[in-house]
Point group: D2
């Protein structure tokens, strides 16, 4: 199984606080623990040709992990449409934190994907809302993060197919912070945590959830629908 981690990789270049936490970039850190979990893992970043997402890379990717924030607009329409199409064709997608506003996620959701936000070094507690879900494997009833950015409702997404985590924030808000969506033959997992100035992706429970999410999002040889004009499978007697 082949995983590609995509990152815009801009905060890392501008903000020493971020590059101190993630010396190999956010993508480097994500790829590192996914590699250890046993996936064949590559990375791709915004400033590479075609944002690192050539047809070859996309066609070989089973699950794409996406982190972006500052530069959503610099992702070309063409690449965003190509990624969307690959998801509809069966590639898994794990959308992290501020990638809620990425072109790819917005195109797949069909909604504005906006939310409330605040940077105030506050506590987040992610409660498990679906204790049947394989994405929650190996963690406890909740995950606590001492300092995170706040995201608050109303989160402008379609009602998720599955709601897995609900976050509590110290400042008084809640958020649907782990949610799945199916689109075409593709499975999508949105997971909220991961503001660039906090060491969230060093947290082992967060790593476990993302690893579980990647595993869940991979398509397992399900049928490929045929569409368009279709000959009848039965006699149409009324036609006579």
């Amino acid at each position: 199984m082949k995983v590609t981690v995509w990152n815009e990789n801009r905060h890392e270049k501008k903000n020493p606080k971020v590059s101190e936490i993630y010396p190999e970039g956010i993508h480097g850190q994500l790829a590192s623990f996914l590699e250890k979990a046993g996936f064949e893992t590559g990375t791709a970043t915004l400033d590479e040709p075609e944002h690192g997402l050539t047809d070859e890379v996309l066609n070989e990717t089973d699950v794409l992990v996406w982190w972006g924030h500052l530069a959503h607009d610099e992702v070309t329409e063409e690449i965003a449409d190509k990624v969307k199409q690959r998801v509809l064709d069966g590639m898994g997608l794990v959308v992290l934190h501020s990638a809620h506003f990425s072109k790819v996620f917005k195109k797949l959701m069909g909604t504005g994907c906006d939310l409330k936000w605040r940077e105030a070094d506050e506590k987040e507690r992610l409660w498990v809302a679906d204790p049947t879900h394989p994405i929650t494997e190996g963690i406890g009833e909740y995950i606590e993060l001492e300092k995170e950015e706040m995201y608050g409702e109303h989160f402008d997404i379609p009602a998720p197919d599955e709601l897995i985590f609900i976050s509590w924030f110290e400042g008084g808000e809640v958020f649907r912070s782990g949610a799945t969506f199916k689109r075409g033959r593709g499975k999508i997992f949105y997971f909220r945590p991961g503001h660039e100035t906090y060491p969230t992706y060093h947290n082992e429970e967060i790593q476990k959830v993302i690893t579980n999410g990647v595993k869940w999002a991979a398509n397992t040889a399900t049928p490929t629908p045929v569409r368009g004009n279709h000959q009848p499978l039965e006699n149409i007697t009324s036609k006579a």
Copy 2:
């Protein structure tokens, strides 16, 4: 409550069979029974300036009904985006038959919206799958249409919020033919029947369902979410 019926109005101009069934156009027929049902109803068509969907019209419309087929591509991106935004802001949308492939519906779904199809004068039977739903008010367990176009699965839509009708077709296929979706503050009802060469919109049960759908899709003064940067509602002690 103000309803606008939009129609591309092209089959009616080209195909005498269609203009015979719908001398006032498909939009005329839809508007006629919606008006009788007590809604203040207007129409808009593709060839009018701004496709008849000026800001004024859109802003005053509570529920928009959409029929299109031949000319989806002639709807400008700008108008399609404007309609989508109005839905997210709370306008109801009833999407009929071949409008599954309209720009507006595809943008709101985020999927390909393709399906199987066939024109073979065959029987369709729409079974009620959700007998709690106000959209099924006043009809029986199923609706039978002697001759309709076939639409078959897999219909490339997100899993609907509510599945209301499932169609049986004589040629051997099934279809999720009545389904609701919520996007932003807007409610969307997709309803399958209505091929232009059959008198489907003269069928009283079909009229009842569309009327119910319009009533259901209207927003009833629900809250308008505020998004963006947000001050804490509680003291954030960890910040000190």
Copy 3:
């Protein structure tokens, strides 16, 4: 439209704090604002014959509102089964607060319906998670209650058909506090607030939500499914 408010009416008799807040009983207070909202409203309580829920009362009730806590076990299996059957047959049901553990709700959900709880005079903030829903009509983005009992996840219910409110609690928990479920021809709305020692049902926003919930839960002449042995609607050629 006929509404019946059911209450076990026990706290009111034992605890002067409760009878001070609700001199007419919790049922009296609920009935009072529902009556003002225009519904024909009656009440029924545990200690009446058949708990006040005779066949006549049940058959004439469009929507039943249920509050219970201390005495769930005193409701007879027979009455609980009868109420469940009426819901499946189309009666609406609004389940309030500690009625999450009522026999009727548990039988309809099929799950344990347990949760975390705490009485600590703490703040609850109910955030709107579905700003399309008529149950949220006329309120703001959230409702704040200065003092309420805490209910926390994991709430052992099936994934709701619609998630309308998510609560934030001062002590660090979250809860799916407004949720809808469809069962048979019946619509069910669970709404969390209403601990007996707080004046929650005097809060006008809470009253508005319950009123909206009653309105939403009423069945509107939807089809009555026929089940059992069924003659074919088409020729079965393979039989020959």
Copy 4:
């Protein structure tokens, strides 16, 4: 992973047609292909002490497969309640064909679970409605069964969490024939085909779906929620 196949095993004893198709019983046939698929598989039948479902057996079972029809009423309330509780505690459950009317399924659904039915040697075609789902792995767009019993809508179940198959029947009906439900920590898959007088469980595609269903239904060490009285995780300032 340990699978237990439960069967009432009555048709096999009464009807030579059934015992000819399933000389080892329906349970024997199901166990045979599940064993080949790599699961450690046992069987249990109605007439064994405790219906073969002792605490020991249940506690060691990861996924229980259930087939019943004639003798639902002979399953004791105690065993049915025990099985239900094990599902809520995390045991997977695959419910086949006429087990839609089993005590266990009805208790878990909270609805009547009735449907239309007919035995007329007619054709069934199961269309894939969710081509992302691992339960559809390895099959085509549809499965065709030359002769099966008909089950028709309205099927009195809660709206499934996932709708995987929709059946077309020759006689004119449709049915939600593959559906998943989550209850507590347990995952449930209902799959329609398998009338006792047809060789349905010898069909390799049907075997593949049931095998996939068993794999999907197994819980993977997800969190065990704690419920009941709960100490605050944060200071409750309003209490002072």
